[in-house]
């Protein structure tokens, strides 16, 4: 590492996490700890129908029989599940579900500060937002307009109240509570999230999005997102996340389920920017998430795009079950780790239907002492004849203290299918940096440019506004961390 690069790295790591502020919000909180009583309390607070409570309790009992997974390439001290607060909801100023006026002005101001306006009139671009703070959704915009097309876009709690049949039909069908330790925990205690239903042949006219904000201390955020696209439906969905800067770690264990029926398409994009911890590795969010999509119908398509820059630990594998014939799964990922961040991320593409296709493009960038792991599984089942997968995993290292690891697992159960895998690991080139600087670019701009070029194939999958946001984020996360 050059002296200048060293200096730049110092500068960077001293830089503020822009979203690290805390808001003073009057909240309704459950006591810390996890028990059947707490689960009953959550279910009661949410006035849930009986089937929900039963499902939660089954999940909780199952969770009790499970062990925290240890196979991933991440390290953290044991989590004390009894010290976490599982329910914390900003109090509404007035009663009345879904009313945008009822929101605490402090909550509104918090989202404004994050660049998320829950004021419909103020939004310029066609993006509807579900704003989730801690355990609950505080507002969902453009619901009425979307309803005209038959689209349901609301918080999970509202969906449970207003569309229990749909929830009952699809909840847990993609990620059952038995799936894994964190999915079981989530099923037991999840408090909110977003629900989205696209009816037959409806092309959702605006981007739908959920913005997740953790505010309260010592709480965990457990939300669920469920998206169903009926025959021929289309939706592009965005997800963003931030949290205050704190010395303690906080747990975020979410579950996302996507279901695409015949000819339906779901595009799911994430820009994850949870607080990453400080440069010594203190604090930050544990982001343990299960995301999976089911391409149930023929010719259906699910596409995951993620830009992961935050969290002290990220553990997630957005996956696709390609059940319908000719269905398509895609995974585009940029994972950036700096300082002491750890990321173990990748995807699973399970080919079940005939002529199914999947594409995996993963770009891992590590700087500082960070560890970045790609873990992927491509399984082509016996009946999934004439199927195809293309995978490409590139790692970029900045400095010599960080690590990149790639674990691609491939299982092909028939002879007519094809799997192609490419992987590269490179260091950010001193020659590239010199070249850029020789053309007048600053070290920062040079790094930014090289890294953005490296991530190009992923960024172009993001909706425009998100792509710009992602590029900026990447710049902030990495400025000067060169070696």
């Amino acid at each position: 590492m050059t002296d200048i690069a060293h200096h730049e790295l110092e500068k960077l790591t001293d830089q503020d996490y822009k979203y690290g502020f805390t808001s003073d919000i009057d909240a309704d909180q459950a006591p810390p700890g996890l028990s059947e009583d707490i689960i009953r309390l959550i279910s009661e607070k949410k006035k849930e129908p009986k089937f929900m409570l039963e499902w939660r309790l089954k999940a909780y009992r199952h969770w009790g029989t499970m062990k925290e997974p240890t196979w991933s390439h991440v390290h953290y001290p044991p989590i004390d599940y009894q010290s976490i607060t599982y329910y914390s909801a900003p109090r509404k100023k007035k009663e009345g579900p879904g009313s945008l006026d009822a929101i605490d002005p402090e909550v509104r101001a918090t989202f404004e500060k994050l660049g998320i306006s829950i004021d419909e009139q103020k939004r310029l671009s066609g993006i509807a937002v579900d704003a989730v703070m801690d355990s609950v959704s505080v507002a969902t915009t453009f619901q009425k307009e979307l309803a005209k097309k038959g689209i349901i876009f609301c918080s999970f709690s509202e969906a449970v109240q207003n569309h229990p049949d749909l929830v009952k039909r699809y909840l847990g069908t993609v990620v059952p509570y038995t799936d894994n330790f964190f999915a079981a925990l989530n099923a037991a205690v999840f408090t909110d999230g977003s629900f989205c239903y696209i009816p037959k042949r409806v092309h959702c006219p605006m981007e739908l999005s959920t913005y997740f904000r953790i505010n309260a201390a010592n709480t965990g955020q457990f939300e669920r997102t469920l998206i169903v696209a009926e025959e021929g439906g289309y939706v592009s969905y965005l997800e963003g996340c931030t949290a205050p800067r704190r010395d303690e770690n906080q747990l975020h264990a979410a579950v996302v389920e996507l279901i695409a029926l015949d000819h339906a398409r779901i595009k799911y994009s994430t820009v994850q920017n949870w607080y990453p911890g400080d440069k010594e590795g203190r604090g930050g969010i544990y982001n343990f998430v299960t995301k999976r999509g089911k391409c149930l119908g023929k010719n259906s398509k699910i596409s995951w795009t993620q830009v992961e820059t935050g969290s002290s630990i990220t553990w997630k594998y957005p996956s696709c079950l390609l059940i319908g014939d000719h269905s398509v799964g895609e995974f585009y990922s940029v994972a950036v780790t700096n300082n002491y961040q750890q990321a173990d991320t990748g995807t699973k593409m399970i080919h079940i239907g005939k002529n199914t296709k999947s594409t995996i493009v993963s770009k891992g960038i590590s700087a500082g002492h960070a560890q970045n792991t790609y873990r992927g599984l491509v399984r082509i089942q016996k009946g999934a004849t004439e199927s195809r997968n293309y995978s490409r995993c590139d790692s970029l290292l900045m400095g010599d203290q960080c690590g990149a690891h790639t674990f691609p697992y491939v299982e092909v159960g028939n002879h007519s299918s094809q799997v192609e895998h490419e992987a590269t690991t490179s260091k950010i080139g001193e020659d590239q940096l010199f070249y850029c600087k020789q053309r007048g670019l600053s070290e920062e701009d040079a790094v930014n440019m090289i890294v953005n070029g490296f991530c190009k194939e992923v960024f172009r999958e993001l909706p425009m506004e998100f792509a710009v946001e992602a590029q900026k984020l990447l710049g902030i996360s990495l400025e000067g961390s060169v070696g």
Binding site: R439, G453, F454
Partner: protein, 250 residues
């Protein structure tokens, strides 16, 4: 414009000394050719002028427009008008040539207190320069040097030079790997850039280039020293007799 006195340079990593006392003076408007055997230190000299951090100057000084060049960062040297066409141009995957060039040009313009060019103005400037060096416009949209042929990379360096408008241009073997037509085009391009206030240093192995770009001075670099200097006749002599006769001729 450029004044190099007793320059000693070694490789930072292993301390091997490459340049062992270089003296060179370049005035505005002049074209200097530097020739010399492989491994004699020509590229090292070129890169040290541009501020490459893998080298360390252990003795001597470099003055550029009266200022101590060694105190300037590589990017500030570029902004102050030093341009180096690399012997091996570097690829930057995923970044369009036009984007790279525009960012460079605007960084330099900002430094000079000029207004930045917007996309439209930049494009018309780039088109004009490309036409001039007979480079297809499609190269603007391709990633920087990625997948370019050897000759195309060299031509791209000339395009950058033409757009960035340097005061001191150092071309490190820009003629190597060019076909005859390309060589002529590049030479014409370079000649068109000759100006009374602009100096050039051409590193080359071939006298042929110097038929097109007639230098004011020719220097022979050997074993980290300039062992001979002369006018364009020196290049002809080298062509006939090789480098052997220059040895011991300090």
């Amino acid at each position: 414009m450029l004044n190099i006195n007793n320059l000693h340079v070694r490789i930072k990593d292993n301390g091997i000394e490459i340049l062992k006392g270089i003296d060179l003076r370049v005035n505005p408007g002049e074209v200097h050719a530097i020739m010399g055997p492989n491994g004699s230190g020509k590229s090292t000299l070129a890169q040290v002028l541009a501020g490459r951090e893998t080298y360390e100057v252990t003795q001597g000084e470099i003055l550029y427009e009266g200022k101590n060049l060694l105190e300037l960062s590589p990017e500030n040297r570029a902004r102050e008008g030093i341009f180096l066409a690399l012997q091996y141009p570097v690829e930057i995957p995923g970044i369009a040539n036009s984007y790279f060039l525009k960012a460079s040009l605007n960084a330099i313009r900002r430094h000079r207190g000029q207004e930045e060019l917007d996309a439209m103005d930049f494009l018309s400037l780039a088109r004009e320069k490309m036409k001039f060096i007979k480079m297809d416009e499609s190269f603007l949209n391709r990633p920087v040097n990625e997948g370019f042929s050897g000759g195309e990379k060299k031509r791209n360096e000339i395009l950058q030079m033409a757009i960035l408008d340097p005061k001191l241009a150092i071309l490190d073997e820009t003629d190597s790997g060019l076909d005859i037509d390309a060589l002529k085009i590049v030479a014409e391009g370079v000649n068109a850039l000759r100006r009374p206030d602009r100096a050039m240093i051409l590193v080359t192995h071939y006298q042929r280039l110097l038929n097109y770009i007639v230098p004011d001075y020719v220097h022979v670099l050997s074993g980290g020293r300039i062992v001979k200097s002369g006018d364009k006749g020196l290049a002809l002599q080298l062509e006939e007799q090789g480098y052997a006769w220059t040895e011991g001729g300090v």
